[in-house]
């Protein structure tokens, strides 16, 4: 598993808030950086990969056994 560049704690937030936080923060990181989003709203498991697809960013993986999702900035 890749070590994330930064961790964004969105636990306790309901969707779409974790996706909004991701969309705000990722473009501020350098291209290639991995942002780990901690989000316990079950919708995040669907919406974070969907956001990556819509925005052409790379959904790395859901971190096993945690409510966390890694996203790499590709552009």
């Amino acid at each position: 598993m890749t070590e994330p560049t930064e961790v964004l704690d969105c636990r306790g937030q309901r969707c779409p808030l974790p996706v909004i936080a991701l969309a705000r923060r990722l473009p501020e990181l350098p291209v290639g950086a991995v942002l780990r989003v901690l989000a316990d709203d079950p919708a995040a498991a669907v919406d974070i990969p969907a956001w990556c697809r819509m925005r052409g960013q790379h959904f790395v993986a859901a971190v096993p056994d945690t409510p966390a999702y890694d996203v790499r900035r590709t552009h």
Partner: protein
């Protein structure tokens, strides 16, 4: 002044068909007695029930004795699943179902699993189409008692390959249950099933009437305590006035179905195209071609589904949503989840016989501004 209401949630409950209203009022006067008794009022009720069954069976193309009226579409779905499993318990205890079945089917599956049975979900693709090779493999596994496939998704409108799925089931010797709630009264029911269910308030009948059809020769055993009514398939006396109204409105809806589909399908195409073009960052989901004529679903990025529903309601628009914040369980729709599409900011629009082009135009004219306003309030413009 409050805006003129525009009802766009027919997939939940279609407005009562005028034929249903007439039949309901007539049957309230004429059909209140218990059809099982032996006096003239009961015989009149029995005639009404028999006529309703004959008419409904004729519309569905099945035998009258294969059809039972249930107290709801949900009870019909529960009975279809649990009865189909009970009837084949000697063969095995596995239920195969698509990942996008109605929650009534999934809840019956949960009950089956809690009682020691097994359930295997078959995935769908991004458009909500059944993975036929996974289905074919799943139904051929040993110990499969029943397979369940929704005829067309109630949430995204994608029509399922029922004929091909049924052929796989036939090869494997597994009976197929088809939930046809969004199809009956709107489109021809696909062939090849052994058990079928539907729900009257989806076609303009009253709420509180479901259909459960079990084809001759199907091993199906009632999961309920014994009761002689409705061929022993569902307990309790039927709500006869509602059943009469359901039958009358089904006949009327089925007679108009082709014309209505031809009228509504282009309106849905228009919604799909205009929403995608005029609302930024929106995902219109479901199969664009192989779909129900009256239903369309889309998700708006960064928008809270519940807030969007309330905003639309304030402008007079009644729609539903698969977003987690709009569900009592706070989970996103399992259908959107299975498809892997955006689940927040989700809106399902479903049209019916009273929907006009002007209403659709008003919705399309107002939606982009409503979404833009909510995004501005949330400070997410330009993200």
């Amino acid at each position: 002044m409050s805006p003129t209401p525009v009802y766009l949630d027919a997939a939940t409950a279609a407005p009562l068909h005028p034929v249903a209203r007439q039949a309901l009022l007539a049957a309230l006067d004429d059909g209140w007695a218990d059809p099982g008794r032996l006096y003239s009022q009961a015989r009149r009720a029995r005639q009404l029930l028999d006529a309703a069954r004959e008419a409904t069976a004729a519309t569905l193309g099945v035998r009258a004795d294969e059809l039972s009226f249930t107290p709801s579409g949900t009870t019909a779905a529960h009975g279809a699943v649990l009865g189909g499993l009970a009837g084949r318990r000697r063969v095995g205890a596995t239920l195969v179902h698509s990942a996008i079945e109605h929650s009534a089917v999934l809840h019956a599956a949960e009950r089956h699993v809690a009682g020691g049975g097994a359930a295997v979900g078959v995935p769908v693709d991004r458009l909500g189409r059944l993975d036929l090779s996974a289905w074919s493999e799943a139904v051929r596994a040993p110990g499969v008692a029943l397979a369940a496939l929704i005829a067309a998704s109630h949430e995204v409108g994608t029509v399922q390959p029922v004929a091909r799925a049924a052929a796989d089931c036939a090869d494997a010797g597994v009976p197929l249950y088809v939930d046809a709630a969004q199809v009956v009264g709107r489109a021809p029911v696909p062939a090849g099933w052994s058990v079928l269910t539907a729900s009257a308030h989806k076609w303009g009948g009253p709420p509180g009437v479901g259909l459960l059809v079990v084809r001759k020769g199907t091993r199906w055993e009632s999961p309920w305590p014994a009761d002689e009514r409705e061929s022993g398939r569902t307990p309790g006396v039927v709500d006869l006035p509602a059943v009469v109204a359901a039958a009358a409105s089904l006949r009327a809806a089925a007679a108009d179905a082709a014309a209505e589909a031809a009228r509504l399908a282009p309106l849905v195409d228009r919604i799909r195209a205009r929403v995608a073009a005029e609302v930024p960052d929106v995902e219109v989901v479901g199969d664009p071609v192989d779909r129900l004529p009256h239903l369309v679903t889309f998700s708006c990025l960064y928008v809270d589904g519940e807030v969007l529903l309330h905003a639309l309601d304030r402008r007079g628009f009644a729609v539903s949503s698969g977003s987690s914040c709009t569900s009592s369980t706070l989970r996103p729709s399992h259908v959107l989840e299975a498809m892997g599409v955006l689940s927040h900011g989700n809106v399902r629009v479903s049209l019916h016989r009273e929907t006009t082009e002007a209403e659709v135009e008003r919705f399309l004219a107002e939606l982009p501004g409503i979404v833009a306003e909510l995004r501005a309030e949330a400070g997410v413009v330009g993200l």
